[in-house]
């Protein structure tokens, strides 16, 4: 058992929060020169385990050994001093400082002339440039971090994390906002760090990435340790089964049968010549009752922009929008709401949840906004609505009065969808509803979407994951470079979508 390569070993880690046992006897072993995946559904305890390792939470029970010595990180800084660094989902660079300033933040070299009084900026830049060069990242360190693309920011964040001679590097969903090329750039960096002997813990929801880069994985379920496997031991199917605790039914076949009947129905929502400078070139779009219209395209192709224009979150330059064939006044999200539209935004934290408010208040908000100031729902009604939807969507929360910020990401997402279901929308726009949530929850969510459409709601489904779009859509609208690239009928293959997306790039 005394493998010399073992850098970190956590044993029997338990941690409870009010109403939830987040971790119960979790185990984790990280080895030098290996990339280790931490897998589990939402609420399996991945985040909590990471927070225990980085000193954000103290464990209720269990021990952590680093290089054979027992340690107990008390704060993220303490953990960093011990050699445990972490990079979180969103990059945490300070946008108004340069890359060099960000990388050296907290340990600026002092100017020799001022006896440690002033910062030696030239030395700061030299060190940062040296570090980036040693990691093979080409980047001008004098640039402001805020001006960099997300991917480069992510690389710089990783560089900053290892600048402190980290023995253990924790990457918590580092790829969730990156596109395919950017992911490869990040992986190159991860491999380089791995070869330098850093023990890397990699958390992601993308299964293919796990097999792409990881050597081993640890699986958690409901806060408990399920097992440690090498990637060769466990295939995707086995991995999902271990995470979920049961065999998943094979994904339902695409192309629901009711396509034909609603293909001729008059559109519930139609936009003509819709455009906004720099965001979307003029395009037409129709949504018919009971259909799922998939919106596919690369990052920056105009998917989100189109959705925001339809929901009046951004003002449009040109375009008429009509609902049920009648021209509609649509200048504020409140108008969209009144017309029976709903919109689940992509950026859950920033424009979805209101973290301090309870799950109940978050769910009731849109319905109340539609009913207006004076027709108050009242506590009893709010509770009924929230209880019903929480049960229907399987939102895991200790109570509907829990602040929504305390829920895991996937459950927050479900609660936001519940907010719109409460308004019984005729058109529901879902922008990346499956981002950052686990496989089983994704499956449930997709079934939920199909269910909604069967009930007559028109759904606009936006996702970066083409396989999802293909699986649920009755029709697929493909965007490229902020314009319509083409339309495909339900049952189209992923390859057909890709060839439309790639048409002008080849």
């Amino acid at each position: 058992m005394n493998d010399p390569a073992i850098v970190l070993r956590a044993r029997g880690i338990s941690r409870a929060f009010p109403g939830v046992q987040a971790l119960c006897g979790a185990e984790l072993t990280l080895r030098a020169g290996e990339v280790h995946a931490l897998m589990g559904q939402n609420g399996a305890g991945k985040s909590t385990l990471i927070k225990v390792l980085t000193g954000v939470h103290a464990p209720d029970a269990g021990s952590i050994e680093l290089l054979g010595n027992a340690v107990s990180p008390e704060s993220p800084i303490h953990a960093q001093q011990l050699g445990i660094s972490a990079v979180h989902q969103e990059s945490h660079l300070l946008p108004n400082l340069s890359v060099a300033e960000n990388i050296c933040a907290g340990r600026y070299p002092r100017h020799p002339w001022t006896r440690g009084g002033g910062i030696d900026w030239r030395e700061t830049e030299r060190r940062a440039a040296e570090l980036l060069a040693s990691l093979g990242i080409r980047l001008d360190v004098t640039q402001l971090a805020g001006g960099l693309p997300a991917a480069l920011q992510q690389l710089a964040t990783v560089a900053r994390a290892v600048a402190t001679d980290a023995r253990v590097l924790i990457l918590d969903e580092p790829t969730s906002s990156l596109d395919a090329d950017e992911v490869q750039a990040l992986f190159t960096l991860i491999r380089r760090l791995r070869d330098k002997g850093v023990a890397i813990l990699f958390v992601t929801h993308f299964l293919d990435q796990v097999y792409d880069i990881c050597d081993r994985m640890t699986i958690l379920r409901n806060g408990r340790f399920v097992g440690e496997y090498t990637c060769a031991q466990l295939d995707t199917h086995g991995l999902v089964a271990a995470m979920v605790g049961r065999e998943l039914a094979a994904s339902p076949a695409a192309a629901p049968e009711h396509v034909a009947e609603n293909a001729t129905a008059p559109p519930v929502l139609a936009a003509r010549n819709l455009s906004r400078r720099g965001q979307l070139k003029p395009l037409d779009i129709d949504l018919r009752p009971g259909e799922v219209l998939g919106l596919a395209g690369l990052l920056g192709s105009g998917r989100t922009e189109l959705a925001r224009l339809l929901f009046a979150l951004d003002p449009r330059d040109t375009g008429e929008i009509s609902v049920d064939g009648k021209p509609a006044r649509l200048d504020h999200p409140a108008d969209a709401l009144r017309l029976g539209l709903g919109f689940c935004p992509e950026d859950r934290k920033h424009s979805g949840i209101i973290a301090d408010l309870s799950v109940r208040e978050n769910i009731a908000l849109a319905l109340q906004a539609r009913m207006g100031l004076t027709k108050f729902l009242g506590l009893t009604e709010q509770r009924q609505i929230a209880e019903k939807l929480v049960a229907a969507l399987g939102v895991k929360t200790s109570s509907i009065e829990t602040p929504i910020g305390q829920l895991s990401g996937g459950n927050q997402q479900k609660a936001i969808i519940a907010r719109w279901l409460a308004t019984q929308p005729r058109v529901l726009i879902l922008d990346e509803p499956t981002r950052g949530i686990d496989v089983a929850a994704k499956q449930e969510l997709m079934n939920e979407i199909l269910e909604l459409a069967r009930g007559g709601t028109a759904v606009l489904f936006i996702s970066a994951e083409i396989d999802e779009v293909v699986r649920v859509s009755d029709r697929i609208l493909v965007l490229r470079d902020r314009a319509k690239a083409g339309e495909l009928p339900g049952g189209a293959t992923e390859d057909q979508v890709y060839s439309l997306i790639a048409a002008s790039h080849s």
Binding site: P333, A334, I354, D356, A369, R370
Partner: protein
């Protein structure tokens, strides 16, 4: 027990009770209430009466802070409202020796309140439509407002001679001061509006996450405008109470530094300056804490030159008592072997 301690109002109430107890300790007559001429008299009643303008202003401030705003012009609006009412009432002796008002009393009061509400609306427009930072937007009226008030009064202190006007600040109704009734009525009606309409939910959601509230279809601009207007109106009511109490309008000193006391009252009551969750009851308690402090300092006979220093020290102590971090620190120092309080519940 735990539930009581964790109630957000627990520590503000403790602070108030401690202050009242200390006052009673230094001055045993403090708690004495007497009935005289159908009026209730005593130090406690006096505190409540004097706290009324601050309570009224702080209630408006609470809502503004809850939508992530701030209004530092309320003191100036108090001066404007006082000046408008005093000017319109004035008063002159008629041939029969009776004092007459220059304009009907109701018209004077309504005009003063309308002007105050317009001031609030102006602040709201600057914040919502012009996109200014609230502190900057209201700084304009804070400075300009006093100038307007001085312009109205011609730089003089305007004295009012019309007795019916004095009821607001000096009168009694059912044994209690009229000003207290006004503050209580405002609190009650605000509470009613917040619990019977969706206003509370909307205000909390705008303060909690303005962008998410907008996406959910809440008309944030309209609500924020209303909240600023109400804050101006509340300052106007306070202005009427103040000028009625001193039977004059002093453009320089009416409502001086009231904005800071109001912000302090909101904070003491447990509403976070970052917006979102708010508590009206907490604000009322916060205002009472401040007034109790002031009265206590006077009744202790603290010399005027150290008055402010003593007040600062007491405010500091109250803030420490309410700081969760500080209480944790004390608990840890007292019992060095125990882990962080509140970490494990």
């Amino acid at each position: 027990m735990n539930r009581i301690v964790r109630n957000p109002l627990f520590w503000p109430v403790i602070a108030l009770v401690l202050l009242l107890a200390a006052s009673a300790l230094f001055n045993p007559s403090f708690i004495r209430l007497t009935w005289h001429d159908g009026h209730l008299y005593g130090s406690v009643i006096d505190i409540l009466n004097r706290a009324a303008p601050l309570i009224v202003v702080s209630l408006g401030m609470t809502l503004v802070i809850a939508v992530r705003g701030l209004d530092i012009s309320v003191g100036a609006v108090v001066a404007i409202a006082a000046a408008v009412s005093a000017l319109m009432i004035g008063g002159s002796f008629s041939a029969t020796g009776e004092v007459q008002s220059a304009n009907p009393l109701w018209l004077a009061l309504a005009t003063a309140l309308a002007v105050a509400a317009a001031c609030g609306l102006w602040n709201g427009l600057l914040v919502v439509k012009a996109g200014m930072q609230p502190i900057v937007a209201t700084l304009i009226l804070m400075v300009a407002g006093r100038g307007i008030a001085q312009l109205l009064t011609g730089g003089q202190i305007i004295t009012v001679y019309y007795p019916p006007f004095f009821t607001l600040g000096n009168g009694f109704l059912l044994g209690l001061p009229v000003a207290l009734w006004i503050a209580g009525l405002l609190w009650a009606s605000l509470h009613l509006v917040l619990s019977r309409t969706a206003l509370g939910l909307f205000v909390r959601s705008i303060g909690g996450n303005p962008e998410a509230a907008r996406v959910a279809g809440v008309r944030s601009s309209a609500i924020t405008l209303c909240v600023y207007t109400f804050c101006g109106l509340a300052a106007g009511v306070a202005g009427l109470i103040v000028s009625s109490n001193v039977k004059s309008a002093d453009a320089n000193n009416a409502g001086q530094l009231l904005e800071l006391d109001a912000i302090l009252a909101v904070t003491l009551g447990g509403t976070a300056l970052t917006g979102g969750r708010f508590t009206l009851a907490g604000t009322v308690i916060g205002a009472l804490i401040i007034q109790t402090l002031t009265s206590m300092i006077y009744s202790l006979g603290v010399p005027p030159e150290v008055n402010l220093v003593v007040k600062a020290a007491l405010v500091f102590a109250v803030m420490l008592l309410q700081s969760a971090e500080f209480r944790q620190l004390v608990a840890r120092t007292a019992r060095p072997n125990k882990p962080l309080e509140g970490e494990k519940r």
